[in-house]
């Protein structure tokens, strides 16, 4: 099975190709398209499971290193993708050495990519199934699935890449698919705008990624993960920096993190994600919740050695992460579009993942990525179910009381809600608490306690806005009979209550599956403090570098035991605090929104400025638009255009004007000076001719007379001279 891992991305790709080229011309039915699209993802899932199993049970124990498809027997082996001639290493101990630039296209399977492909294919598959129902009747059915499959291909390339460049291919590729899918409803101006915004903001991030990639090559002479991470561990290549210092490692980490910020929607490049909700909801679920946006976290974890060499950057990452978490959460309080709330929630949760990475708990970050994929996708699909049932209504103010009408959706959504709020035994609890605990207890960067405080606050905010969402959507009295459809593309009259039904099975089954996942997926990360072995973290061990432990003697028992016990107490306390906070906030929120609306109004009035600011997303979009887009880029653009048309081209045209002027001068000179001389000669000739032609009388005898006279004169002359 391992030998076939190349099929895992290839199958969705082939499906995408087929559907894209032939979907319209062959007029395939929705059924056919669904089977092909979902089938290919399902096969990828099966292959992924098989490959991971084989890796875990037979490959890793015998080889102890990641599996590369370019090895002997693998396929496609030694596929040199980019032969780029020679290159030079410019940093580090090998500076000046010439190395061949040869980028291979080969897939890598190790513990980290194993987690990723399982998540991507599993969640992806169920979202594909859901989409069959969601996109039913849409004219671009084939296009949707073609692009979804293309996305699967790109994402799998991203996570299965064995080198930075291949990862970058997947990185940009998912950006492309995101662009295509956000702009799926392209006749809608807003969607077109949102898709362009997403791509460009991503590109800004890619700029940083690219530069970091170049620096990595210029330091290590290679872009392959295994080699880079191997070399990066040694201080000779990449000196460890102390906190507050800024060196080579920090620069590289900065570039990589900028890329991550763009892709994973952190401050300051998160602005594209809320607008990305213009795409169909399954797209939001798959790309903007479960997979694409997590690519940044994956990349940071993949390159964790480099990051760990720079505590300064780690701190920056943690700070940005937790700041984003709070910032986005605060915006989730006031949004009325259900998808936007979930979008901000995603940004917020991604912030937590980065917080984890920043404090050195990379495994915890990936763990949260894994659980988040389940519950966030679940909630997005649930929202999609609601949206479809209400005929593309997305405004929560026009929802309510749906628990009665859509029981399956409701109950599965509840699972997701409980998970994200961190209620014990649900997956979110384990992952989020792991992060918070590691933040609190970190010794990688200073200020762990303060970061924990902020993270704790954020968790409370999360509980609040999620409960708000559930309350507005599912609880209370129905409000949707009042308004007409406010959907983006359709206009409807009010529909009666009995028109709202539970979604068909093709949509509810994925919800159920994901709900089960959201519920139990946390168990693999059962922490040690609660008696578990935290399988998840141990699984990811080989990928994460632990600098402190490498030097230290593997202290097994005694010394560790005592401190472990101490830590456990603190951990319990923190866990308890989180749960208490969550439950308290959930209860308060539910009460406010359901029973004590008056109190709610009072609170909102009291904090009105804050409310307005949050509802307007703190005017960040306007700021970016006004300053960067309008003033900076477009302003520069217009200025350059003016400068070009008037200045540079003016210079060219000016040279033409000058040339014409000088040619006129020359013409004048030519006419009145040079020509004058020529004409003067002519005039002289004329003068003489007037003189000489007097002799031409036409009278022959005159000529004879002249001849004779001349003859006599000559004779006389001769005679005189010879006298």
């Amino acid at each position: 099975m391992l030998k076939m891992i190349w099929l895992i991305p290839a199958l969705p790709f082939l499906s995408a190709l087929f559907l894209g080229i032939f979907g319209r011309t062959m007029k395939l039915s929705e059924r056919t398209i669904s089977w092909i699209a979902c089938g290919s993802v399902f096969l990828s899932l099966v292959l992924s499971v098989g490959a991971v199993y084989e890796f875990a049970t037979s490959y890793w124990p015998t080889h102890g290193r990641p599996y590369l498809s370019s090895e002997a027997g693998g396929f496609p082996h030694s596929f040199t993708w980019v032969p780029g001639g020679e290159a030079r290493v410019i940093f580090g101990p090998e500076a000046g050495k010439t190395v061949p630039l040869r980028i291979e296209w080969s897939y890598q399977l190790d513990q980290l990519s194993a987690v990723m492909i399982l998540v991507v294919t599993f969640v992806g598959f169920w979202i594909h199934v859901f989409s069959i129902g969601y996109m039913r009747g849409d004219g671009g059915f084939y296009r949707f699935f073609a692009q979804m499959n293309l996305f699967m291909f790109m994402m799998l390339v991203l996570v299965m890449a064995s080198n930075f460049l291949m990862m970058f291919v997947g990185w940009e590729g998912v950006g492309l698919c995101s662009y295509l899918l956000i702009g799926y409803y392209f006749h809608w101006n807003y969607a077109a705008y949102a898709s362009k915004k997403a791509f460009i903001v991503n590109r800004v991030g890619d700029f940083g990624f690219l530069l970091a990639m170049f620096a990595i090559f210029s330091l290590f002479g290679t872009l392959h993960f295994t080699e880079v991470m191997e070399l990066a561990r040694s201080d000779a290549y990449l000196p460890s920096e102390s906190f507050g210092a800024w060196g080579l490692a920090s620069w590289i980490a900065l570039g990589l993190f900028i890329g991550a910020t763009g892709k994973s929607a952190q401050i300051p490049l998160y602005v594209w994600l809320p607008d990305a909700m213009a795409g169909p909801t399954p797209v939001s679920a798959l790309i903007h919740a479960a997979t694409m946006v997590t690519a940044g976290v994956y990349m940071v974890t993949r390159a964790n050695v480099i990051f760990q060499k720079s505590p300064t950057m780690m701190f920056v990452i943690a700070l940005v992460g937790v700041a984003t978490a709070i910032w986005a959460a605060s915006m989730g309080f006031t949004q009325t579009d259900i998808k936007k709330v979930l979008a901000y929630s995603t940004i917020s949760q991604l912030g937590y993942m980065f917080l984890a990475c920043g404090v050195g708990a990379f495994a915890a970050g990936i763990f949260h990525l894994y659980t988040h994929a389940f519950f966030k996708a679940l909630m997005f699909l649930g929202a999609g179910s609601v949206i479809i049932a209400l005929h593309h209504e997305m405004d929560m103010r026009r929802m309510g009381g749906l628990a009665r009408f859509m029981p399956v959706t409701y109950r599965t959504f509840l699972v997701g809600w409980l998970a994200i709020c961190g209620i014990p035994l649900f997956s979110g609890f384990f992952s989020k608490d792991e992060i918070l605990w590691r933040t609190f207890s970190t010794d990688v960067i200073p200020g762990g306690r303060w970061l924990w405080m902020l993270g704790f606050l954020g968790a409370g905010m999360t509980a609040f806005y999620m409960t708000r969402l559930v309350a507005l959507t599912f609880w209370g009295d129905p409000r949707f009979v009042v308004a007409g459809g406010s959907g983006t593309t359709h206009g409807h009259e009010a529909h009666a209550i009995h028109g709202v039904r539970e979604s068909p099975r093709v949509m509810t089954i994925p919800l159920i599956v994901l709900a089960i996942g959201a519920a139990i997926s946390g168990f693999v990360g059962w922490p040690k403090s609660l008696g578990g072995t935290n399988r998840f973290e141990r699984w990811l061990e080989p990928v994460i570098w632990h600098p402190a432990q490498e030097d230290a003697v593997p202290a097994k028992l005694s010394g560790m035991e005592a401190s472990v016990a101490e830590h456990h107490v603190a951990e319990y306390l923190l866990m308890l605090a989180s749960v208490a906070l969550a439950v308290g906030v959930m209860y308060t929120c539910a009460t406010l929104y359901l029973r004590r609306r008056d109190r709610l109004e009072a609170i909102v009035r009291a904090i009105r400025p804050l409310y307005v600011a949050s509802a307007n997303k703190y005017w960040v979009d306007e700021f970016y638009e006004g300053v960067f887009v309008r003033r900076l880029v477009l302003g520069l653009s217009w200025f350059s255009w003016r400068a070009d048309a008037r200045g540079v081209d003016g210079g060219v045209n000016g040279s033409a004007v000058m040339t014409v002027f000088w040619s006129k001068v020359s013409g004048w000179f030519d006419l009145y000076v040079v020509d004058f001389l020529v004409n003067a000669i002519g005039a002289m000739t004329k003068l003489f001719s007037t003189l000489f032609r007097i002799a031409q009388t036409g009278f022959a005898q005159n000529y004879a007379l002249v001849i004779t006279t001349g003859l006599f004169l000559l004779t006389a002359l001769y005679l005189i001279l010879s006298w």
Binding site: S637, F639, V652
Partner: protein, 572 residues
């Protein structure tokens, strides 16, 4: 079929002169009223001219150097010979030329209705001129062809162009001519100094050694240079380009043969002509006008091929013949500055355009700036990327101009504001446009990415700051291209756009090769890169001795000699 055998069959001459032959046949055997027959003939002949160029694929990549050499006495009094030859870099460029030529002829089918015969004659003449520039090995011949392709282009813009065509045509012609005559000065200077230098025995030895290095195991190439050196030693001049390269690369006692000051002047001479052609900032302003006013085929050839003549010139002349001037820090600083200005400024101005064609024209300037930066970073990675990007740009920008041509043919306006929501009514077109947009902005899996990546990586190695500035180009590029795409393809369909038909089969026919190539180069660029890896390494070694030496030795059939007896080649 080895290159020598093919040279015996005069493959290069056939490729070069076939279009002109077609033009002559058109002139004498076709009456101007038989428009359809003329069109058919022209298209068939263009394809016929393309087929022999496939023979160039037989270029021996392992051997490298100039192959398919043809050498005939031409004007013995001045030493100008009819010498043709191609190396890996020219091979891909000639193939690009013939392919774009076919496409240009094909896309004029419905577009040109008046003076059809003259149009195709002019197009075919232009083709010959351009191919001739790429294949000449003699500077005199090079210059002749360089000037030859000015006149047909002038007519193409001036007769069959849009409203402001005369201004654009004259501007193009005079601007480019101005550069060319300065280049002529440089050529003549080289011609005159060559015998003076080569007459001295130690210089002659060094030149021959350099020739041996440049040729590697390529005997015919070495003999060509040797005979030119012989001529020079006798005091008679020669115009052979490779001999000039050997002169430039030769080192006597560690010092270059041509003194630095002279090299700088010569560099300036060649620079002016090529910089105007590329075009580099600030010599670029002829391009937007020429592109906007030219008919579609004119723009396609102009953007697809003509611009590459400038960069080709830099790689063929400035770098190898004048390496010390090229490496001079002042020169490099200026070139890098102008190139980066081209990238950033070109992109910014593109964003402000309201005319679709003008926008694409400015994007061209931006891309060419990237190529120039790659050339002047002097390392194999960036130079490989630059040559590859020449091909890529030829493909993607030609396609973009074809795309504009498609809508212009239907709606007769180039203003972006006149279009909206075209994805609805022209989905096939939308797909092609999307692919080419992504190619232009360098999305991985498409051709543009490979070139940009190689260039940027190489530039990064040289100077981090330059790479950072140049990389902003990828963000800006995405900006204006996606904005263009959004404005024209997305949103509600404009009323008068509703009836626009999707791509006809004939249009699919000429888009398909470009799309296929875009994907092919993007996914598996190795065969393309393999053609010019070796020549590029040789050029890099000429400019920067010691860098690519290892590669050349490993690549096999490689350099056996060293540049000069007393120059120590260690890695710097």
């Amino acid at each position: 079929m080895s290159p020598e055998r093919l040279a015996e069959y005069h493959l290069l001459s056939i490729i070069t002169w076939l279009p002109v032959l077609g033009a002559l046949i058109l002139i004498f055997f076709f009456h101007r009223e038989r428009k359809h027959a003329i069109r058919v003939f022209a298209n068939v002949w263009a394809i016929l001219s393309f087929l022999p160029s496939l023979g160039l694929l037989a270029y021996d990549r392992r051997l490298g150097g100039i192959q398919f050499i043809e050498d005939i006495e031409w004007i013995p009094q001045i030493g100008a010979r009819y010498q043709l030859g191609v190396d890996g870099i020219s091979v891909v460029l000639v193939l690009l030329t013939t392919l774009i030529g076919v496409i240009a002829v094909a896309c004029s089918w419905g577009f040109i209705q008046e003076r059809v015969k003259e149009y195709y004659v002019v197009l075919l003449l232009l083709q010959t001129g351009i191919i001739g520039v790429f294949v000449s090995m003699d500077m005199f011949l090079f210059y002749v062809f360089w000037e030859v392709m000015l006149v047909p282009m002038y007519f193409l813009i001036g007769v069959w162009g849009s409203e402001n065509r005369l201004y654009a045509a004259i501007k193009f012609f005079i601007y480019t001519l101005f550069g060319s005559v300065v280049m002529l000065l440089a050529i003549l200077k080289l011609y005159f100094i060559f015998p003076d230098y080569v007459k001295q025995p130690e210089v002659q030895r060094a030149v021959l050694q350099a020739a041996r290095f440049i040729s590697g195991e390529n005997e015919p190439m070495y003999r060509m240079i040797e005979s030119a050196v012989q001529l020079g030693a006798q005091g008679r001049g020669t115009f052979n380009i490779m001999a000039m390269q050997a002169l430039g690369t030769a080192r006597v006692g560690g010092a270059p043969v041509i003194p630095l000051t002279l090299q700088l002047w010569l560099f300036a001479g060649f620079f002016l002509s090529f910089a105007i052609k590329v075009p580099m900032f600030p010599f670029h302003t002829w391009l937007p006008d020429a592109h906007t006013e030219a008919p579609t085929a004119g723009s396609v050839i102009l953007a697809g091929i003509l611009l590459k003549l400038g960069t080709y010139g830099f790689v063929r002349f400035n770098l190898p013949i004048l390496p010390d001037a090229s490496r001079d820090s002042r020169v490099v600083a200026i070139m890098a500055f102008l190139a980066i200005m081209g990238i950033v400024y070109g992109a910014l101005v593109a964003m402000a355009q309201r005319d679709w064609k003008r926008l694409v024209a400015y994007s061209s300037i931006s891309h060419m700036g990237m190529i120039m930066l790659g050339i002047f970073a002097f390392n194999p990675s960036s130079l490989n990327g630059a040559v590859l990007q020449m091909i890529n740009h030829g493909i993607s920008t030609s396609a973009l101009f074809l795309i504009v041509g498609v809508v212009y043919e239907r709606h007769h306006t180039r203003l972006i504001n006149d279009y909206r929501g075209l994805s609805h009514v022209m989905p096939g077109f939308a797909a092609v446009f999307m692919i080419m947009t992504m190619s232009s902005i360098g999305l991985p899996m498409l051709n543009g990415f490979i070139g940009e990546f190689l260039i940027l990586r190489g530039v990064f190695e040289e100077n981090r700051l330059w790479a950072a500035f140049a990389a902003t180009g990828i963000v800006l590029g995405a900006g204006y291209m996606l904005w263009l795409y959004q404005r024209t393809m997305y949103g509600e369909v404009k009323e008068d756009n509703r009836h626009l038909p999707d791509l006809y089969p004939r249009e699919w026919a000429y888009f398909l090769p470009l799309v296929i190539l875009a994907f092919w180069i993007g996914i598996y660029p190795k065969p393309f890169l393999s053609y010019f890896e070796k020549p590029v390494a040789v050029v890099v070694e000429q400019v920067r001795p010691g860098y690519a030496k290892g590669f050349l030795e490993r690549a096999g059939g490689g350099s056996l000699g060293r540049v000069s007896a007393s120059h120590e080649l260690t890695s710097r």
